[in-house]
């Protein structure tokens, strides 16, 4: 029995040591970056290229308020050299709890490895009154700015600055990659602006206020939300009023994402509005596995919906 125990123990520790060594060696050559959302992971990849190994925590289909606090994220955060995040309290419901146990001081708020991409972003919907009577408001403003490709250029710049801050020896590479990526984005922005011409002036309804930046960029007009207040499910009265509003305003699209399709379908059947499901996190399917592909898919889908 003792022999069995000692053999089992030595096997356990051998496996433990091997996995430790393996996980160390695999990433030894690259900068280990962890991004909270797939779109951020892709932009980090474009700026860091072969110098970085990027992982995304969320898959892109999750509701930003419902990303599970999965302990399997902890080892990734523990090994990370840098953490790339949306900021503006977007990850407030799940990231701080994980950082609490990740034992990695490098990526804690305020440390060099904590790359908050919201720096310098012109934020929309900054609340005048921060009070939970207004629902689950974001005190620092709407965090879904990645849906605006022009603002994404600032995100890319923030990531390059953050990577350079941590790895100044690669500054030239990051700057070169950033320049190339911004040029590519500019090229795409030109195309999207032409492609999105039919969206200009289109009135729409969202489920949760996720689409304001996209609407701002392409001239769409938000006329209402399914939620009573951000994060608060609608009451029957609110739904009746919303259906009336949709008819009066002649709203053409209802955009929802990680929410339950039941209410959008019900509203559509009563008002005739067209329902479109799009995710505000990107990366959840092959058509959206890079930032550019995600925005392209989003714009294309919206244009097709109003055509």
């Amino acid at each position: 029995m003792k022999i069995l125990k000692s053999r089992t123990l030595s096997l356990f520790f051998t496996v433990l040591a091997s996995t430790w060594l393996y996980s160390g060696l695999v990433f030894a050559q690259q900068i280990r970056a962890v991004a909270t959302w797939p779109a951020l992971a892709d932009i980090t990849r474009q700026v860091g290229k072969e110098l970085v190994n990027v992982e995304s925590l969320a898959t892109g289909v999750e509701d930003a308020h419902g990303v599970p606090i999965r302990p399997s994220f902890v080892p990734r955060l523990n090994r990370a050299d840098v953490l790339v995040l949306i900021g503006l309290d977007d990850e407030q419901t799940w990231l701080p709890a994980l950082l609490e146990v990740a034992s990695n001081p490098k990526i804690l708020p305020g440390r060099p490895g904590y790359i908050d991409c919201s720096l310098g972003i012109s934020v929309l919907e900054t609340p005048i009154r921060v009070d939970r009577a207004e629902g689950d408001v974001h005190p620092k403003g709407n965090p879904h700015y990645l849906l605006d490709p022009v603002r994404a250029k600032i995100v890319a710049r923030n990531i390059a600055t953050g990577l350079t801050r941590n790895f100044p020896q690669h500054q030239q590479s990051f700057e070169k990659n950033l320049k190339a990526y911004v040029a590519e984005l500019d090229n795409w922005i030109g195309r999207w602006e032409k492609m999105a011409a039919p969206l200009r002036g289109v009135k729409f309804v969202d489920y949760h206020p996720e689409w304001v930046y996209l609407a701002d960029r392409f001239g769409m007009k938000l006329v209402g939300s399914v939620e009573l207040k951000p994060g608060i499910e609608p009451t029957p009265n609110h739904l009746v009023e919303l259906v009336q509003q949709i008819k009066q305003e002649k709203a053409r699209l209802l955009i929802y994402g990680a929410q339950n399709p039941r209410l959008p379908q019900q509203i559509a059947s009563e008002s005739g509005i067209k329902v479109v499901r799009l995710y505000s996190g990107g990366g959840n399917q092959p058509e959206t596995d890079t930032y550019i592909k995600w925005i392209d898919y989003t714009v294309r889908t919206l244009v097709q919906s109003v055509s």
């Binding site: 999750e62 599970p68 999965r70 709890a97 990740a102 310098g120 012109s122 689950d136 250029k153 339950n260």
Partner: protein, 432 residues
Amino acid sequence: MMNIFFGRKFFDVISFGLLLLLMAPRLSFAQASEMESLRALMKDMQQQLQKALSRIDQLEKEKAADSAKLGQVEKSVQAVQSAPSILNPAIGLVLDGTIEKLGTAGGNFNFRAAELGLAASVDPYARMYAFFTGSNQGFEVEEAAAITTSLPYNLTAKGGRFFADFGRFPKFHIHELPFVNEPLSIDRMVGGESQADGAEVSYLFPTPFFLRATFGGYNKIGADNEQVDNLKPRAGSRFTYLGRLHTYFDLTDNHSIDLGTSLAYTPSVRLTGDASGGDRILGGVDLTYRYQPLASTVYQGFTWGSEFYNNSQRFPFDIEVPNEDDPSILETQTVGKRRRSYGGYSYAELKLNRNWSTGFLFDYAPIVDNPGQRTLSYSPYLTWYLSEFNRLRFQYSYLSNNFKADKAEKGNQFFVQWTTVIGAHTHGFVTR
């Protein structure tokens, strides 16, 4: 004929032909020069366009840099403006109350807790949090602890009064539980919430999967554990020492398993009447399965969680022994005897939609000093989340005892619980 040949018409034809011959090169020359000037114009325009594009690019960069600077300036201004309060900790208040009917004992409005929470960073090396609870039983510092944030080698240390890392639900504040009351098995075997005065060190294994170990030393474990005096100094053998190992696996994107094992060891516990005393071993295994469909985590989900505990320690008992002088007379004598008890709970909860969830709790709770006596409880419950910060819960419990229990601790029990939160409120990773 000759006249005709050399006449006016002939001359006109010849003249027109000559004119054409003379004009042709001039026309092609004009076209070529026009083309060239067009080319030059195009080139010039291209250059101007290029310049304009570069300028736009430069302006955009400047704009981005300006807005970044502006953002920083705004932040600095805000920081300066709110400097007196900006360093204040995050503050939250939870109010938890029930309307309850307990067996045949009757009903009651039960003001269970008003819990004030504070949390902030201490410095670059530590953070601190505290929960002060006022209830109908008085006012208490439920937790007040400092935690390191920058220790090397994946270590984290914690000191103060806090809920020791024993099991899963023993670490939960009661209002955070998925049902109204703490399972009786936790209450009787752990001694309520795993509150402890002491210190803990946690180590995160550098493995690709989550594996965390905790070691701790405390005066005692259990908010309601009255076997040990929390205030008296004691020998090293009278402290309680804890070890816990916790791991987690994603079975798929939507299914996961949490598994933990805990052991709290007190080398010497001496209860009144048992002079020799002995060690106390409190063990626990916790298992939680979760189904969380990523695309609809706020609408759907299923959790099954169970914990099993065993407690082994000596308790004093009164026994009747024959008198040495006259064996016909029986005398009462107190002796210590080791008792082993086993208990635990199992619950399952289904999320019906964003606002509603329902579940069922089964609990097996032995009396630790008399394990033959036990209480079985069955509790279906329904929870209504009006919002993330406002919750109503309805619960029915049936308590079955195999001993004579107090009127309030048997039979049918009904609860309506209302829990509300203001401000910043979180118990962090442990209550995930």
